[in-house]
Symmetry: C2
Subunit: 309 residues, 2 copies
Amino acid sequence: MSKELVFGHQKPDTDAIVAAKAFSYLQNEIGFDTEAVALGEANAETKFAFDHFGEELPRVIKTAANEVKSVMLVDHNEAPQSVSDIADVEVTHVVDHHRIADFATAGPVWYTARPVGCTSTIILDLFTENDIEVPAKLAGLMASAIISDTLLLKSPTTTDFDVNALETLAKIAGIDANSYGMDLLKAGTDLDSKSDLELVDGDAKTFELGGKTLRIGQVNTVDLDDVFARRDALVKTMQSEIDAKGYDIFLLLATNILNSDSKLLAVGEPKATVETAFGSKFAADDTMSLPGVVSRKKQVVPPLTDAFA
Amino acid sequence: MSKELVFGHQKPDTDAIVAAKAFSYLQNEIGFDTEAVALGEANAETKFAFDHFGEELPRVIKTAANEVKSVMLVDHNEAPQSVSDIADVEVTHVVDHHRIADFATAGPVWYTARPVGCTSTIILDLFTENDIEVPAKLAGLMASAIISDTLLLKSPTTTDFDVNALETLAKIAGIDANSYGMDLLKAGTDLDSKSDLELVDGDAKTFELGGKTLRIGQVNTVDLDDVFARRDALVKTMQSEIDAKGYDIFLLLATNILNSDSKLLAVGEPKATVETAFGSKFAADDTMSLPGVVSRKKQVVPPLTDAFA
């Protein structure tokens, strides 16, 4: 069996990197020959988690076909979010918790998707099904991924499966999920150290909806003013990205992780379709309050998909 | 929770109908409200299995959106193989053993695909994971689906998972897999009752390869003479289908399930490319022997794909 690479999406968050590490570990235990890699540098939150548990970050790759013939995807499936030369390798396995789109294989594939809050929650189930133990350090990382994806179980994407998985993993890792979780989330919200581009595009994903190309970034904060004090500079950066990459519209979702409210900033067109999606109007500064919205996947992309259809 | 329909592909074979029944049963045990239906009439083999185990065939539907808002797919995922109004309903669950193509969801989905010989093999695993027992009659039907999809474990699509699943299910159902299996496969080969069109097109699929449109039908038999005694009438029907539907070439694969050999009949062009694919020549009657070939998916489409590329 020839070696395969395992990786999450571009602009990796904690789950993208941890799920790759966890699934690679599991597959190697089963008998595959895999290596976890990442499609970009780890963010501050992810680095905090790997530091805390004394684990090494996976190396970063730009292309896959120069190393392997086949790959395993975690935490994503859509080609535009994957490695640049995804068309030149075979996808043999996928573990994901997102919608399926722009994904196709030539032959039968191993695919496990579950509508839960975090890929690492699914992977814990796969360990259990295969009767393989999760090492303590890896359990700490997987707990971190669940805390990150669900904002400490507050996001509406959270399911009972995530709650139970976090409890199990925290026990194995020997951590208090709540106090460790707040430390982890705060480590990810140090916005002052981020450039304007890192802030708007650091976690951004591209979506093709109804013939339009939407770029949607999200940034977590403990104070929305930390984001919107920089509004003019952010708009300029988003416009530069539109000009350079050919997006139709760039949306930035700023989320207050303390009270679970968000504010949306839009650059480009059609803004009117975004207004239709959320049943609300943009203010003169092109922002829109979205109370109770914390999940891009569950509360932002689905209404946009409907409105752009 | 509102009711959902569960169904397999159009032109249902035994696995398409049985997997719907089995997955619906499992989901109802878990707490969903589902009904298994079919996208077409059961074939003779499927009827034999349901008669044998005293189970009722699912009803046939033409559309889904008039009954339900959401559906679960088994044994397929591609929209052209699904219910005609698939775009008007939400797909919440998929269990499949085929490639993934032309499939997309608006939100996160529950998807289990495994590269094994039969969907019912995967569903047996799901029963085990959920600690739910398979009733004896249902086990008999699921064993029938595995026998049908793998030609009694002789097809190269067969995996160890299918072998083990058939053994488990035969035990629960109280059948001898080999003797029952031969009876089941023979029941599917009553060619005398089939019209020429049913014989050439009943199980046919269309493939676009290298700019050519290929229609490939397959028929199982216990005696190749039962098929080729009708050669002239079959050629006439295949030519009519080419004229009516605009195919470039129509191939009929007749497979002897007793000795696992096939004979190919071709109408249309380019026959030379088909000869390249199989490294063999057509005889004067436009037939070609293909010893050891039983799987359209694994032994016919891949070499044709390469030759037409």
